[in-house]
Assembly symmetry: C2
Homo-oligomer: 193 residues x 2
């Protein structure tokens, strides 16, 4: 709980709101990484999923890697990151899903080598942001294609005013977001508690 | 030293050599990350640079992020990753350098917000591979543009048979590579000791 309040304080202090409901937290989560703080976020995630039999963490490049690494370090499991591809490499060795990016108004593929997610795995999906949920839905699709179990998702910051979180929770998938933003304007950010 | 031998053993066991002197270590360093092992590599890097007054670690997305994070976690300093751009955003707020990729035969830009590297910083550059050295030279360029000090570079795997390492050491910059490959064929990999 203390970590959550620290995270909210950091978002309020360092976050910048841009048009289009974009929140930039490049000073500690995205481009510059406050590694000691992310390790604490990783410990929080490890605590939330400690009884879920997680064997591996899955994220997508590039901004998900740091928080996923931190969670994996605290849980002592390997992590895998999906790559973003525009290519049409339809190798049967690859798990692949299409993701529409609302930020960039384009569709891209995310791919993972089939060898890195097996039916015996219980996967925790970790990402930095959850908004419309498209990236997360793509990652869930990869895990389902591999026939692995999904423990749930752990997200650093959820935009609670967009529908991705509800959409995925309504599918019966556990989603834990460390900070949930209820509303956001140029000068105020309100969190859900 | 034990870590180095472990790393060499992992490269021999899990590495795959492809035409064009490509070494794939996707099972523990690149796509799938053996996080506990990378934390040990991070500790080794922290030991090498413990007296260098490092204030921040710099890498480039995406495959450098994990090893840079591990080193930063062990040194308790923040890390920053440069982004790869094809765009022509010439914002004065960005540090920018051009990198030619021998693997992909294209030139791309790497960019970092100017606010994340200051003249007061002493930067340790961390990356997963060093071959021709182009990415590393680009990262050094960013640090020099920012007017910051360079403590040196720490690399997971150096292809010692390519000239990047010598090129940069000859500029007087300290380069520490955990594993240095002297030669590499389909069925043998020889390390420098």
């Amino acid at each position: 709980m203390i970590l959550i309040l620290e995270l909210e304080a950091k978002i309020l202090k360092e976050g910048q709101v841009f048009p289009g409901e974009i929140l930039k937290v490049g000073s500690f989560l995205n481009q510059q990484i406050d590694v000691d703080f992310l390790m604490k976020m990783g410990a929080e995630i490890a605590g939330l999923y400690k009884d879920s039999g997680v064997t591996k963490i899955l994220t997508v490049e590039a901004s998900g890697i740091a928080v996923a690494f931190a969670a994996a370090a605290q849980m002592h499991v390997p992590m895998v990151f999906a790559k973003k591809h525009q290519s049409l490499n339809l190798s049967p060795d690859l798990l692949r899903s299409s993701v529409f990016s609302f930020t960039h108004k384009t569709t891209y593929d995310i791919v993972v080598s089939r060898e890195y997610i097996s039916p015996e795995d219980t996967i925790l999906i970790v990402d930095d942001f959850l908004a419309k949920g498209n990236a997360l839905i793509g990652l869930i699709d990869l895990v389902e294609q591999a026939g692995a179990k999904i423990a749930g998702a752990a997200i650093a910051i959820e935009k609670g005013f967009q529908d991705g979180g509800d959409l995925i929770r309504n599918r019966g998938i556990r989603v834990e977001s460390l900070a949930v933003i209820d509303s956001m304007t140029d000068d105020t950010i309100t969190f859900r508690h």
